[in-house]
């Protein structure tokens, strides 16, 4: 939520959020909510038949987590832009962590524009970590 008592400043770090290990139910729930029924994301038989070790997450699922993470801090009604770049696939059992840092605060028509750099990392069950998604968002705070 936007906090008018403490206006954001460049370098502010958003408190990171760690999600429970990704389940197939998470993937299926997102497939139904979004309408993305590419079988590679929910049909284990299909996914393994084309050479993948299992189904894997829809990229836009973790993009949704990352964008919501930023919007929870600054208000979804204040969002003016969000962009993500997909880096690595996310698999059942992976633990996702979303984090962000304020990179720009500037007066603009209608309020203050705030840019946030965003990162969604992925940790597999061996403990190895990499970047699943990087991104950025702009909010207009009144």
């Amino acid at each position: 939520m936007a906090d008018n008592e403490n206006p954001p400043q460049v370098g502010d770090v958003l408190e990171a959020v760690e999600y429970p290990p990704l389940t197939r139910t998470d993937i299926v729930r997102y497939a139904g909510a979004s309408g993305d029924f590419n079988p590679i994301h929910h049909d284990e038989t299909f996914a393994t038949s084309v050479g993948f070790p299992s189904v894997f997450s829809v990229g836009m699922y973790q993009a949704g987590l990352l964008a919501n993470f930023a919007a929870d801090r600054f208000g979804p009604e204040n969002l003016r832009r969000v962009a993500v770049r997909f880096s690595s696939q996310v698999w059942p059992g992976d633990v996702l962590v979303t984090s962000g840092t304020v990179s720009r605060v500037e007066d603009a028509p209608g309020g203050t524009e705030v840019d946030v750099d965003l990162l969604c990392t992925r940790r597999d069950d061996s403990g190895a970590e990499d970047v699943a998604i990087s991104g950025s968002a702009t909010f207009l705070l009144g």
Partner: protein, 147 residues
Amino acid sequence: MARAVLRMQTADMDEESYEFPIDRSKVREFAKATKSRNPAHEGADAVIPPTFLTHARLAWEPLEMSPVLDLGFDLGRLLHGEEEYVFHGPPPRAGQTLHVTSRMGDRWEKQGKRGGVMRFAKIVSDFRDESGELVATQTTTLLETGN
């Protein structure tokens, strides 16, 4: 051939836009599916979650209007590279019906790290409200990996 005829007909009617009605229960379902508990996504005038507009093309776009089909990419080598949503004002809310037009944007190629040529293309969708005002623009970057 049938597709070309259909395009001409729809272009005459409304420049090939399709309707995207924003339903409050779909907004709530999408918010929950992306782990949001924000109350802003509840209620009759719920604001959409940040990436909600992805639902338009997946669920409402008529197949014959999809620019993806015009790319000529091998769907077996197709990857989603980037996604961007620009809101030209406050994001849309439940109860609105948006009108969507999609077009192919920039296309380019580069040498893949593992050999072969990677081909990139942007698909741009404009979302207009009931009065015709542009409220949001979605840009999807797709890529076809090298052989």
